[in-house]
Point group: C2
Chain length 188, copies 2
DNA sequence: GTCTATACTCCGATAGAC
DNA sequence: GTCTATCGGAGTATAGAC
């Protein structure tokens, strides 16, 4: 799987070739079929592993903070750092670049947990009077996920080599909670 | 070129095959090389055509409005509608999905004009007291482009078939100017 | 669990006849 | 400006020996 990631980073996510993997592994292509029944099965395993790692990253980021906007800011940053450090995997997870590959429900499972994680942080922020209740609606959550995805997709497409601190787009991640608060000002 | 777009929409942007194009055109593959010296040349021609069309869409959108936030809102919406109506081409333009393809400077030219277009609308909005002067900095312009790109990338990845009006993400496009104004409130 | 051999399909690109 | 023929390579996947 590590070698597959390496090939994808060089040939494009959709350019994974089992022959190339076998070559670098020092075996013949048919041997791989003892471990994965098809090429898409490799994608699926990578997808699941990636979703799991991303979930752990955003959870780790929130750990130690009071639930609410502070935890959300820390969690967003941790997720963004994970994406910048795992760009190839992130592309597989968040931008469907492989025609014909549809992740299995099991592989998709952690993605639902990520959504639930941020929904919970949003509700906590509302309880603390940091956001308007509408922020927890599907619409509000969609805005949050779109904003973070947009910053990161622009960063990856235009400055993939930039460090997290110096990226022209990642630097906005820290200010996303303020943007959300501007769109959903708490009533008072 | 139209047939190429059709193939790309079915096989993925990176999955363009000149053989498939020739097949649908009713000619043999070598004939295509009389018109394009390589497969990447086809991508380049499509890239240029797409950038040009997108530029015209955002300019058309602004036409008839006073320069400023109203024109920007109209321009953003026109651009978003163009992207939703030309999804395959938009992927080629805004998300580099083809390993090894780098657009030529000539093909990239209209993209610079798009940037200049929005920079001008931003300055007009500042002059009218609708935005803080910092909104016209490179940082501020980067935020604007990232926000719109994020909404659209999420829309294309998750609900590509939704109409512009019903999209869970496109519906935020109309409110982007308000988000920008919240981040860059004019001094008063 | 690895291999050889193979079936099958596909690709981009070029040479050169017409 | 189209074609045939071809080079030289790629790929996924399976059968079956060891």
């Amino acid at each position: 799987m590590d070698i597959s990631l390496q090939v994808m980073s060089e040939q494009g996510v959709a350019g994974l070739s089992l022959s190339a993997v076998a070559r670098r592994l020092g075996v013949r292509p048919p041997s791989l079929y003892k471990y994965f029944p098809s090429r898409n099965a490799v994608y699926d395993a990578l997808f699941r592993r990636g979703q799991q790692a991303y979930l752990e990253a955003v959870r780790q980021g929130a750990a130690g903070h009071e639930p609410g906007m502070a935890a959300m800011a820390a969690s967003l940053e941790a997720g963004a750092r994970w994406v910048m450090a795992n760009q190839t995997l992130a592309q597989l997870l968040f931008w469907r670049p492989v025609p014909g590959f549809v992740p299995s429900p099991q592989a998709y499972e952690p993605a639902l947990a990520v959504h639930a994680h941020f929904a919970e942080l949003t509700r906590a922020a509302i309880d603390r009077g940091e956001l308007h209740p509408d922020a927890a609606s599907e619409e509000g959550l969609a805005l949050g996920s779109a904003l973070i995805a947009g910053l990161l997709s622009q960063q990856l497409a235009n400055e993939p080599a930039a460090s997290y601190e110096q990226g022209r787009f990642t630097r906005w991640v820290a200010r996303l909670p303020a943007v959300l608060a501007a769109v959903y000002p708490p009533r008072r």
